[in-house]
């Protein structure tokens, strides 16, 4: 029995289920439509949940399984669903994700989809324009975090590698003719590196906000680096109102860009703790195993170096990402030096306020650890960190994120914040944060209460718990449906980190 199963009761969950994460990742592929193979409610509830956060239409089809299919199998409904979606949406990619229902009744989605294409060809009909891909996402295995990663892995293996392989075999050569983000201009600073820079870099992203993906793209433009972002939800989940609205949102990583990934001169995976190295015997397990696996496969196929990097939040994590970009581009845009200096200046300005403040964070693993690093740099004392996911790499990632030059803050139990009770023993000296994996809001809030936490970072779902403790809540991650701009949160790089730091300081000053 694994850890999550041992928890009998989840009170106020802090994650959606596995298929939901897959839908999010697939939204980062241009012209992609998704179909949930399960009961009608799965797709509708996930749409509702996603729409409330992103404030965008989010069409998801369903194979609408009923009792009959639960008994006799859902292949016919799946085929009908696929046909209808291809007919009405004409997508370039159709991602089929499974659910607890379709997985438990044992539907073989992959062979059903293969059979569908083969049948068409056998009848002399053209193969469907859409690439059909399948992501296995039984809702009882893992959370949306794992589902997101599984879909990214499918995008890499089925759309980047397999497609590129197909092209080579069939002699099509358009895969080398276009570079993914062709608009990225070259900077004048290092013209000698220009040729090398036109070869793309692939960056595999954990779940970030559309605004953060746009920030990463802008930063890449600053460096003059052509890059393929996998996935790219920057436009698809934060689109504009601008003339006729297409059935499927514009933007996303295009199929041709994904095929170019195989020519990458470097592969980056974001969201891993700093200092993570690949294939080292002693290395702790990665935080995001499927993302790292996708990155490794891509890097090996492209014969390119792989870098595992933390989310560029806070000082040192941003430094690490920008250093890597500088290596890849041959230099650092000078204004980033002043941006960094400004961030250090802000840390100096606020450290009296933030030092030793006890913080609780509940979010997805990559975000929770990145935020923990940002706050630790400000001298704050991350006491509790919780995620719904049960990544084996979490503890090591938190340790890496919260290790600071002068060690952990030392807090005098009797001079602590107002909510801190002197009768609570054993808290005087800060220790490593309490790390809760496979957690829910209820255990997180209980741990925050015991630890005398003074400020909480979490999603909109953390609101009730924060109110219960009478603590301020800074909304990060997903879902944030009770504030505007939850999907436009951008805490990346020095400027974005500064926004989060300011919010923390403002909350602590209230």
């Amino acid at each position: 029995m694994n850890a999550a199963d041992a928890v009998d009761l989840t009170v106020d969950p802090c994650a959606g289920c596995r298929p939901l994460g897959a839908l999010l990742a697939l939204k980062g592929v241009e012209g992609a439509m998704t179909l949930v193979h399960g009961s009608q409610g799965c797709s509708t509830y996930m749409r509702l949940y996603l729409t409330r956060h992103f404030k965008e239409p989010f069409d998801v089809a369903s194979s609408s399984l009923n009792e009959n299919e639960a008994v006799y199998g859902g292949a016919q409904n799946l085929l009908k669903g696929v046909r209808n979606v291809l007919d009405k949406y004409d997508p370039s990619v159709l991602g089929v994700v499974t659910t607890c229902l379709s997985e438990t009744i044992g539907d073989d989605v992959r062979s059903t989809l293969t059979h569908f294409v083969e049948q068409k060809l056998a009848k002399g009909m053209p193969a469907p324009r859409a690439r059909l891909i399948h992501v296995s996402t039984p809702s009882y295995a893992g959370t949306m975090t794992e589902g997101y990663q599984a879909a990214v892995k499918a995008i890499v293996t089925e759309l980047a590698l397999e497609e590129a392989g197909d092209d080579r075999e069939s002699g099509e050569s358009d895969s080398t003719s276009s570079v993914a983000t062709a608009e990225i201009p070259e900077t004048p600073e290092a013209p000698d590196a220009r040729a090398a820079r036109s070869t793309p870099v692939s960056i595999i992203l954990p779940l970030t906000s559309p605004a953060e993906v746009r920030s990463i793209k802008a930063m890449l433009r600053e460096f003059g680096i052509s890059a393929i972002l996998i996935p790219d939800i920057s436009e698809t989940l934060d689109g504009g109102i601008n003339g006729p609205h297409p059935l499927l949102p514009q933007g996303g990583a295009s199929l041709s860009a994904l095929r170019d990934a195989i020519t990458s001169r470097a592969v980056l995976v974001l969201g891993e703790p700093s200092g993570t190295a690949v294939a080292e015997e002693e290395a702790p397990p990665p935080l995001q195993s499927d993302l790292c696996e996708a990155g490794t496969t891509l890097a090996m196929t492209a014969a390119a170096p792989l870098s595992l990097l933390p989310m560029p939040m806070g000082l040192r994590q941003t430094d690490a990402f920008l250093t890597r970009l500088a290596e890849l581009s041959g230099g650092l845009p000078p204004h980033l030096r002043s941006a960094r200096a400004r961030y250090v200046d802000a840390l100096a300005d606020c450290h009296r306020l933030t030092y030793g403040k006890r913080i609780g964070i509940i979010a997805e693993p990559h975000l929770a650890t990145a935020a923990a690093a940002l706050l630790s740099e400000a001298g704050a004392d991350v006491r509790v960190l919780a995620t719904a996911s049960k990544s084996p790499g979490l503890r090591a990632a938190v340790r890496a994120a919260t290790s600071m030059p002068n060690g952990l803050p030392v807090v005098d139990a009797f001079l602590g914040g107002a909510s801190y009770s002197a009768s609570t023993d054993g808290l005087a000296r800060s220790a490593e944060p309490q790390v809760l994996s496979a957690s829910d809001h209820s255990s997180f809030i209980a741990a925050c209460r015991t630890a005398g936490v003074e400020l909480i970072l979490g999603s909109a779902h953390a609101k009730a718990g924060a109110e219960e403790l009478g603590l301020p809540l800074i909304r990060i991650g997903f879902p944030v449906y009770d504030r505007h701009g939850g999907h436009r949160q951008d805490h990346l790089f020095y400027d974005g980190s500064l926004r989060l730091l300011d919010a923390v300081c403002d909350a602590l000053s209230e």
Binding site: A4, D5, D8, L9, T10, D12, P13, A15, G16, C17, P19, L35, G38, S39, Q40, G41, C42, T44, Y45, M46, R47, Y49, T51, R52, P57, D59, A61, S62, S63, S64, N66, E67, E69, A70, R83, N84, D87, K88, D90, C100, L101, T104, I105, P138, Y140, A141, T143, P185, E186, T187, I241, P244, H245, P246, L247, A388, D440, S442, A460, A464
Partner: protein, 527 residues
């Protein structure tokens, strides 16, 4: 404007291809199987033959949810119980904090409990885990009762939640009620039935639950929305005219808004099923003389069962819009007046119930109509598209829009039945498109074809409308505006006016950059 109410000849036209023939994909917006679900109100043509109450078409992107969701939304507002979702995490996560149902005190219903089934539970069965979860909730939270919802995977692996609940109840001494809501066993309407069955079979008339004072008596003591306080002041005497309200979910406080009018007339509410509901209230709801059914789609089934077993008659009402609200008050008053005339045991004066109701309605209607003059002047002649879960609200909206000078030109629901579509067809004007179980592609085509000036629906429809430049008004579970009763009508008019006259729609049409060339990256570098 009068609708063609004489159309009893049920000859139907399904011009799906004509109505929705030209979509951007060029293949038509309609999947063939969906043709019979779309109808055009035309002359004596009736909408009653519209195909409905069927399973959704695979791949059609239906806006419907599942059996579990139907049961969950109906039972969730019962405030003093714990709702445990037996299934994987997602089913609990997506139904947490999604309804604007308010409670005047106990907030137990807001906590999300899940067994968060994992792989081992699916392989070896989830019953032991469920039993432990129930025990834990009972021990740590002491709710008035526990509702246990089954989900898809529970149905597939065959967990016997009935047996688990029965054993838990015996062990723990509190009511533990199974809700048979496996997601795939039908559609949302079947979920309403599952919820009603749980209430009828396990709650209503339940022995051993001490009888509370009627809900409205308690609320008038503490004030709606206020935490109950022990003021030492005794509760007022309950009226002998006791009724239940079924299918009012107290979104944004709707129940409290209408309750005050019934109180003014002299009618008390024994139980609300389920908005601001309490377990004991529902358990004693069979003591009331009348059931008012507001959300007919979800609660008519329960009302019929209560009529059969307890002899409680029911009336379908709506508390939304001037006409429906007035009728609800007067019809209810006349029911109790007639009942009082027939029943000599009721000695309290009842002869003036209808008179009082009419006075209230007269005064309030006059007040609201004065307030609506302003909005009517601005909104006259505009066209609305309505897509609702059930038929009751959709029908009320047709009338409410007329109160502000507007007509509904697209009307659809997820789960209405033949009779409902007949009523809808009778109510709407010529040229209105009626649609069952619509999807985003169909809705966007209809918004354009029918030149709708506003769309009314839920959150899934909101952003679709916005992208098309169509104003939107939320009339669903998650709205935060009170739309019931007389002040609710003014609020509705204000919301429609806000939506339509916001500057955003005019700004969205401006394109100041149309004539400007794109600046290339070379130019950028030159700077």
């Amino acid at each position: 404007m009068k609708a063609a109410q004489s159309s009893s000849a049920a000859q139907v036209e399904h011009p799906g291809a004509d109505i929705l023939g030209s979509s951007e994909a060029g293949t038509g917006a309609l999947i063939d199987e969906r043709r019979a679900h779309v109808s055009l109100k035309h002359g004596s043509v009736s909408g009653a033959d519209i195909a409905c109450d069927t399973k959704s078409v695979a791949g059609a992107v239906s806006q419907r949810a599942c059996v579990y969701s139907g049961a969950r939304v109906v039972l969730n507002p019962i405030a003093d119980v714990a709702h445990i979702i037996h299934g994987p995490l997602g089913c609990a996560a997506y139904t947490w904090d999604i309804r604007g149902s308010l409670s005047s005190g106990d907030q137990s219903y807001r906590t999300s409990f899940s067994t968060a089934m994992g792989e081992t539970d699916v392989i070896f069965g989830g019953e032991p885990k469920l039993a432990r979860a129930i025990r834990k909730v009972a021990d740590e939270r002491s709710p008035a009762a526990i509702f246990v919802f089954s989900t898809c995977v529970v149905g597939v692996i065959g967990d016997d939640i009935g047996a688990v609940c029965k054993a838990a109840e015996a062990e723990l001494g509190i009511p533990v009620i199974p809700v048979r809501s496996e997601g795939f066993k039908g559609n949302k309407s079947d979920g309403y039935k599952a919820a009603c069955d749980a209430l009828f079979n396990h709650v209503i008339g339940r022995e051993g639950v001490s009888e509370p004072a009627p809900l409205s008596v308690r609320l008038s003591h503490d004030g709606p929305g206020a935490e109950p306080v022990d003021t030492g002041r005794p509760l007022r005497q309950a009226s002998p005219h006791l009724m239940n309200i079924l299918g009012e979910f107290n979104i944004a406080g709707d129940l409290w808004e209408v309750m005050k009018y019934f109180e003014a007339i002299g009618i008390d509410i024994q139980a609300s099923v389920t908005g601001d509901g309490r377990f004991a209230d529902v358990a004693h709801s069979h003591r009331a003389a009348l059931n008012l059914v507001q959300c007919s789609g979800s609660m008519t089934y329960l009302a019929k069962k209560m009529e059969a077993r307890y002899g409680i008659p029911f009336k379908k009402v709506s508390f939304f819009g001037l006409e429906d609200m007035g009728r609800a008050l007067i019809d209810t008053a006349s029911f109790f007046e007639e009942l009082g005339d027939a029943d000599q045991s009721i000695v309290t004066p009842h002869g003036d119930l209808v008179e009082r109701a009419e006075a209230v309605v007269r005064a309030e209607e006059a007040r609201v109509r004065r307030a609506l003059v302003h909005y009517r002047g601005r909104l006259e002649g505009r066209r609305a598209a309505v897509y609702m879960g059930g038929p009751a609200k959709a029908l009320s909206l047709v009338k409410a829009f007329r109160d502000i000078g507007m007509e509904v030109v697209v009307i659809g629901t997820q789960s209405a039945k033949k009779d409902d579509y007949q009523a809808i067809s009778d109510a709407v004007i010529e040229g209105t498109v009626i649609i069952d179980d619509a999807n985003p592609i169909e809705l966007r085509s209809l918004l354009r074809r029918q030149r709708a000036d506003i769309m009314v629906g839920g959150v899934k429809e909101r952003y679709l409308a916005y992208k098309l430049g169509v104003p939107f008004c939320d009339f669903n579970h998650d709205r935060d505006l009170l739309f019931a009763g007389y002040d609710g009508m003014i609020e509705f008019a204000r919301e429609v006016d806000n939506a339509i006259f916001s500057p955003v729609w005019a700004l969205a049409d401006e394109d100041p950059f149309a004539g400007l060339p794109d600046r290339t990256s070379d130019d950028r570098r030159a700077s």
